[in-house]
């Protein structure tokens, strides 16, 4: 039987393909800040849905979320 997760447990995320453990209640804004990224230069997708910048603060991460954080690089 799976162990019930309490609301105090860390959240297990997958960020850019890598496992990551973060504090419960963290928002997308909090995650981006933890990662020391400039919000003006990145875009975030959560479980295949774009998270608009305006919703970073209000979007709470949940256990099992898959996130993609992208930016522009050189290309042809």
């Amino acid at each position: 039987m799976p162990v019930m997760k309490s609301i105090m447990d860390a959240l297990a995320l997958t960020v850019n393909g890598e496992p990551m453990s973060v504090a419960p209640g963290l928002s997308v804004a909090g995650l981006v800040a933890n990662l020391e990224l400039d919000t003006r230069k990145v875009a975030v997708e959560r479980n295949l849905e774009i998270v608009p910048r305006s919703a970073y603060e209000s979007t709470r991460l949940e256990d099992g979320d898959t996130l993609e954080i992208v930016h522009f690089i050189g290309g042809g």
């Binding site: 850019n16 890598e18 230069k41 875009a43 992208v70 522009f72 050189g74 290309g75």
Partner: protein
């Protein structure tokens, strides 16, 4: 053509006006300093960029935007690495969120060694992107039928390859490029295949609205010098196209008059 039109030789894509008819890619450079210097030298106002994951293990790595300012250059996000319509839409939605604009470059490629445009997948992706509100500049084969279909779907620019990506072989099928230009009501850009300034000039002499160059500048021994050469090549080709070249003829025609010769 009046004097004003002669002076203003800008071109228009999706309501945006550009003076430079050279669009450059930002890939393959050895470093971001060289990228910035070469793009500056090229005089380009529009640059293609790719969308990729932020490297979380090296977050302090310099970013393209710190060297090539989106405030100064129009970023044209591409779909390089996408093989389906779903992947292309997903990638460009992220690009739109990161950059806040709708003008994009769609490219769906087949496998190496040709990396030839996969037109069946390109048509599907173009349809999905247009439906999602994107303004699509589309990389395509030099196929006038496919090009027309893309235009009718609502693509804002048609960008046939001159030769395979990175091959540097120049325009291999000028007849088809010419046919695409003659039937198109939206801008036509030769994208891929340019190897040196001559190729860019040749494409412009065919009547292209602009040329897109990446490898030929980025991989040149001196990218900044080649960027200048491409700028000059595009300008020379455009001027020659507007000037109207003399007809080709199968016999000589003396340049100096035969009258008034001393005896």
């Amino acid at each position: 053509m009046d004097g004003l039109m002669q002076a203003d030789d800008s071109w228009l894509v999706a309501g945006r006006r550009f003076s430079s008819r050279l669009v450059v890619g930002t890939g393959k450079y050895k470093d971001l300093e060289t990228t910035a210097a070469a793009i500056e030298a090229s005089g380009a106002e529009m640059v293609t960029v790719a969308v990729r994951r932020v490297n979380l293990s090296d977050r302090k790595a310099p970013m393209l935007q710190d060297y090539v300012s989106p405030a100064r250059y129009t970023y044209l996000p591409n779909t390089a690495g996408c093989f389906t319509a779903d992947e292309a839409v997903r990638t460009l939605r992220l690009a739109r969120e990161a950059g806040g604009w709708n003008l994009v470059k769609l490219e769906v490629l087949g496998p190496a060694p040709t990396l030839y445009p996969d037109m069946a997948a390109t048509l599907l992706a173009a349809e999905a992107l247009i439906k999602d509100g994107f303004e699509v500049m589309v990389y395509c084969s030099d196929d006038p039928v496919a090009a027309k279909r893309l235009e009718e779907m609502g693509c804002v620019a048609i960008m046939p390859l001159g030769a395979p990506i990175g091959s540097g072989l120049g325009v291999q099928n000028p007849l088809m490029i010419r046919m695409i230009i003659e039937q198109a009501k939206v801008p036509v850009l030769v994208d891929a295949g340019v190897g040196t300034a001559y190729d860019a000039a040749f494409a412009m002499e065919l009547g292209c609205d602009a040329v897109l160059v990446n490898s030929a500048i980025a991989m040149a021994d001196d990218p900044v010098l080649m960027a200048r050469a491409m700028k000059a090549g595009v300008e020379a080709g455009r001027l020659a196209y507007r000037a109207g070249r003399i007809p080709r003829r199968g016999e000589a025609s003396a340049s100096s008059p035969m009258s008034g010769l001393i005896r």
